[in-house]
């Protein structure tokens, strides 16, 4: 949830004054604790996914991934992301513009509400939409009279995923846009550019790295959404199983290798997301350094 542009790229060297620093002994103990903790909680689980996925050889791995139900799950996941990510990107850019560039009453309330999808339990989200669109729900009976079925179809999956991933792009953009201020936009407007031209020529290039990271993070979350999709999917094999649900189904079918094979695809997506994030951070740091005339450092 933090903003990559402000997090870690400006790490500085250890202080020179020895009295204002820890002894090397303390330093190495702290580093050991940090490394141990990260390995135990993050690195080992990640390594395990790939070890189990490829444990029985590449042939078994490929067979698991090319299974018809798995392919269908991958396809549904991709389609869901292809609908949700653009929607939330457009929303994210619009909302960030309104929040970062203007002062208005109720702004902090708006931001708190925007954060709700982070804190609401995904199963509660799923339940709300079952109650809304279910056959015994409030809208379900009316819609089914018109021949529209929402719950237990990919449409419901798209809706709950859009709900869960709504804030990601906004979050990345607002802090970046607030930090950058509006001077450049104002200058462009003064020089006679239209509002949209200003956005396209000035704002977009300024926020592009944050936007890219926000989009790819939103994409990773959209593909990985589990709890809410679990409640609204109906789990029709080959039709309303997304990748995370398929991982669970395979896991419960004792097909451990296949389960970890699908999991490894999502894990790779997560790694790509982290790599993009690192590149973005480096780019932002470089842009800022060049803008202020400093040496970028690394």
């Amino acid at each position: 949830m933090s903003n990559p542009s402000t997090s870690s790229s400006t790490a500085r060297a250890a202080p020179i004054n020895p009295s204002a620093a820890e002894s090397p002994w303390v330093r190495w103990v702290l580093i050991a604790i940090a490394l141990g903790f990260i390995s135990l909680v993050l690195l080992l689980p990640l390594a395990l996914v790939f070890r189990y996925a490829f444990g029985e050889g590449l042939g078994v791995y490929l067979a698991a991934i090319r299974d018809a139900d798995t392919v269908a799950a991958i396809r549904l996941t991709l389609i869901t992301a292809a609908i949700v990510v653009p929607l939330n990107t457009v929303f994210g850019v619009m909302a960030a513009w309104a929040i970062a560039k203007f002062e208005f009453r109720g702004k902090s309330l708006l931001i708190t509400i925007l954060d709700m999808p982070f804190a609401i339990s995904p199963v509660v989200v799923g339940m709300i939409f079952v109650l809304l669109f279910g056959a015994r729900g409030w809208l379900g009976p009316t819609l089914s009279q018109w021949g529209i079925q929402i719950i237990f179809t990919p449409i419901a999956i798209v809706i709950v995923v859009a709900f869960g991933t709504m804030p990601f792009v906004v979050r990345e953009l607002v802090s970046l846009m607030q930090a950058q201020g509006s001077e450049e936009e104002l200058a462009a407007l003064t020089l006679g550019a239209s509002g949209f031209q200003t956005f396209r020529r000035i704002t977009l290039p300024n926020i592009k790295w944050g936007l890219i990271y926000g989009v790819i993070l939103c994409n990773a979350r959209a593909m990985g959404e589990f709890g809410s999709v679990y409640v609204v999917s109906g789990r029709i094999r080959g039709e309303t199983d997304t990748m995370p649900l398929h991982i669970e189904a395979l896991y419960n079918d004792y097909l451990l290798t296949a389960s970890f094979a699908v999991a490894s695809l999502l894990a790779m997506l997560a790694i790509v997301t982290l790599v993009v994030k690192s590149i973005v951070e480096w780019k932002i740091a470089r842009d800022q350094a060049i803008a202020t005339g400093d040496d970028p450092g690394d």
């Binding site: 719950i151 290039p205 789990r235 094999r237």
Partner: protein, 365 residues
């Protein structure tokens, strides 16, 4: 200064993404499963039937095509029986339901009126085209010496069974223990005694003993998963517990690999006859124009092919022919039914599994 590489980079990413999508859409084998089907019906089933229906559906599609020339496809949804019933009530458009127990289909009939309440009389054998009972999986060599239900209540035995509030097999497990205790207290003619007012006091005492017995088994439950599949995973993959109570068919199905997995199966000699039931969800099937197909599909379950297939998947078939053929693989047992001991599913659900029912009372302590 970054204006030029950025669109290029974005373009590359977009192209790569499209290429990936194309590769997946176009990859051989994918899409075959729905290609060319004129009609599809949805069968909403429970966990333990995955393999059985996968094979059955292909054969039924072939059978239907020979008969009518129409190409059809059967879509499946599997999950815990109670959860599946809930989804059907919420609008999962099932043409047929093939659930673990009659009580779950009763609930659909009663609460959402998608099928008539007398559904169980519409197909032979109480709409149960295959039956099963319960088996114990134990570690190889049976180190804890578990042979029958009473061993589950012994001090220090770790029992794995799913949650009766969500899982069909768990309700059968629970009722089997209960019935076993009644049988132990009242003797082999316990069913007759329960209907005989002259034994009312004995029966009341036996019910009390049964309740305590079941409670003591549940005190030994180490992990209570929400479904049969996860419970089996907990026991086999994770090595938790001394005994897993599961469907006989599931345990036997795994029996080829049981030895390799270091497991052994024990079937208690007194147990319950589990009758997974099937029904056409008439309103849904009618709305979708699938009534004929759905009926034919369920009737097909009583055909020689399906009965033989059921036997191969270690369900107990109901037709004479298949029953004789597969008799050797099922131990002879003394089986009682829910109707005999608990007065039918509706009554069993009301007394034991509703909110604040006997299971909740036992478990809350």
């Amino acid at each position: 200064m970054n204006a030029s590489p950025t669109p290029a980079a974005l373009y590359t990413v977009a192209t790569l993404a499209c290429a990936c999508m194309l590769a997946i859409f176009a990859s051989p084998g994918c899409g075959d499963f729905e290609a060319g089907a004129d009609r599809a019906i949805l069968n909403v089933s429970y966990d333990a039937t995955r393999g059985f229906y996968r094979e059955l559906n292909d054969e039924f599609a072939r059978h239907w095509r020979e008969k009518t020339g129409e190409r059809i496809r059967v879509r499946m949804s599997h999950g815990g029986s109670g959860a599946q019933a809930r989804s059907v009530m919420d609008g999962l458009p099932a043409d047929v339901v093939t659930l673990a127990l009659a009580g779950d289909i009763d609930a659909i009939a009663r609460q959402s009126r998608l099928l008539p309440e007398n559904w169980q009389g519409k197909l032979p054998h109480n709409s149960a085209p295959y039956t099963s009972t319960l088996g114990f999986l134990v570690r190889k060599g049976n180190p804890r010496d578990i042979h029958t239900w009473s061993d589950l209540a012994r001090e220090g035995i770790q029992v794995i069974t799913p949650n009766p509030r969500t899982s069909g097999v768990a309700q059968w497990n629970y009722l089997a223990m209960w019935g076993y205790a009644l049988r132990r207290e009242l003797g082999s003619d316990f069913v007759a005694k329960m209907n005989d007012p002259a034994h009312a006091r004995d029966v009341a005492r036996a019910q009390q003993v049964a309740r305590e017995f079941v409670a003591s088994v549940y005190r030994n439950v180490a992990v209570m998963d929400s479904g049969a599949r996860s419970a089996t995973n907990t026991f086999i993959q994770r090595g938790i517990g001394d005994v897993l109570i599961n469907w006989e068919n599931e345990s036997l199905l795994g029996s080829r690999d049981l030895d390799a997995a270091g497991l052994e199966m024990i079937v208690p000699t007194v147990s319950i006859l589990a009758e997974p039931t099937v029904a056409v969800v008439e309103r849904t099937a009618e709305r979708r124009g699938n009534t004929d197909l759905a009926r034919a599909y369920l009737e097909f379950l009583y055909s020689d092919f399906a009965q033989d297939l059921a036997g191969r998947y270690y369900f107990r078939p109901v037709t004479e022919k298949a029953l004789t053929k597969y008799a050797h693989q099922f131990p002879a047992l003394e089986l009682f039914t829910v109707d005999e001991v608990f007065g039918g599913w509706a009554e069993a659900l009301r007394v034991h599994f509703r909110d604040g029912g006997t299971f909740d009372q036992i478990y809350a302590r």
